[in-house]
């Protein structure tokens, strides 16, 4: 259809252009060239009609598309902006809360540290006490053993001396006394 319309317009305009040229060449006269002006006006009108007929819908469609695109972009931008605003607000809240959370975390950390410190100190105290007890016990045992060794040594020496001296020092009277004491004990 466009091809047919273009051919018809071309068939109309070419004779009109030739007629206008011929009028100007064969009937020159001073003043305003009305024929040429009319041809130009018709020609322009046809051009405008063609443009309006064929280009306007595409332009309108492009404008509508463009408007829709821009509108969608604006809506998307608004949505994104809203989301960004919400996100910013949320993060702002988080940041606002962060101070408190940090304080709470610090408080808990300090409490944990204090508990751990107390536990470590208590364990260290128990260990120290155990070491002290062991040391005291060891010292006591060593002292007791030394005392026992000394006593045993004294006893052995005393016994050796007594056994050496007894035959020399014991008299018949002593022997008689021993026998009497023994008899008394048996009779008891």
């Amino acid at each position: 259809m466009i091809a047919r319309l273009s051919a018809a317009l071309l068939a109309l305009l070419l004779p009109l252009a030739a007629l206008a040229q011929e009028i100007e060449e064969h009937h020159p006269h001073p003043g305003i060239p009305w024929a040429k002006l009319a041809f130009t006006a018709v020609n322009f009108s046809i051009f405008v009609a063609i443009v309006y007929r064929f280009a306007a819908p595409a332009v309108r469609e492009w404008i509508v598309d463009r408007r829709n695109t821009v509108k969608a972009a604006l809506e998307q931008a608004a949505r994104v902006r809203a989301e960004a605003e919400a996100l910013r607000a949320e993060w702002q809240q988080r940041i606002d809360r962060l101070g408190g959370e940090l304080e709470e975390m610090l408080r808990l950390a300090r409490a944990d540290i204090e508990i751990e410190r107390d536990q470590i100190l208590a364990a260290a105290r128990r260990t120290a006490e155990a070491i002290q007890r062991d040391a005291a016990r060891t010292a006591e045992n060593e002292l007791r053993q030394a005392r026992e060794r000394l006593r045993a040594e004294v006893a052995d020496q005393a016994l050796a001396i007594a056994e050496r001296l007894a035959p020399q020092r014991l008299t018949a009277a002593d022997q008689g006394r021993f026998v009497d004491e023994f008899v008394s004990q048996v009779r008891r």
Partner: protein, 182 residues
């Protein structure tokens, strides 16, 4: 096992000689036989399983003739020889003595002292134990200078120790143990 065998033979012999009223004589003969049987060589001969019955009979006959024991004891030795129980002779003598002591309500004691006891001291000790045990005491005395002083009495295996040596050791133990001496 051997103690049981010795006790059984001793009891049988005791019943025989008690009827014959020869307890003390038989006991004395058994003590002689015991002393003989405790000699290593004689003990080996009595316990020798290779000896024939005739040899064992000849051996006990020789012993009986040498010691001049009674006919009852002689017969008893023959019985032991026939039953291959000559190795139980020392044990039988000990068991017989115990049965006799029990029957006569007496007990044997060994009194050991550092120096020899006077008769009075010995009698005092025996009297004290007779009073304590309610039985007659047959005492034999020994001297052991290592006791240092005092006396030690063994009554049928029970020791009554009044020696100075033991008292000194007890004293030394108390000193070593850190206990008070009083």
């Amino acid at each position: 096992m051997s103690g049981s065998v010795a006790r059984r033979y001793a009891k049988a012999l005791f019943e025989v000689v008690e009827a014959e009223q020869a307890l003390e004589q038989t006991a004395a003969e058994l003590q002689l036989l015991r002393a003989l049987a405790e000699d290593d060589q004689i003990a080996d001969a009595l316990a020798n399983p290779l000896l024939s019955a005739t040899s064992r009979r000849n051996l006990v006959r020789t012993i009986a003739d040498t010691l001049k024991v009674s006919q009852t004891t002689r017969n008893f030795l023959g019985l032991l020889a026939d039953h291959r129980r000559l190795d139980q002779l020392a044990g039988i003598a000990v068991q017989f003595e115990r049965i006799l002591d029990a029957r006569l309500n007496r007990v044997r004691a060994t009194i050991t002292s550092a120096v020899a006891l006077s008769d009075a001291q010995r009698q005092a000790i025996v009297a004290a134990f007779e009073q304590k045990l309610g039985r007659n005491v047959l005492a034999e005395t020994r001297v052991d200078a290592e006791l240092l002083g005092g006396v030690l009495v063994d009554v049928a295996g029970t020791i009554y120790d009044g020696s100075v040596r033991t008292q000194l050791h007890a004293l030394a133990q108390r000193i070593a143990g850190g206990r008070s001496l009083h």
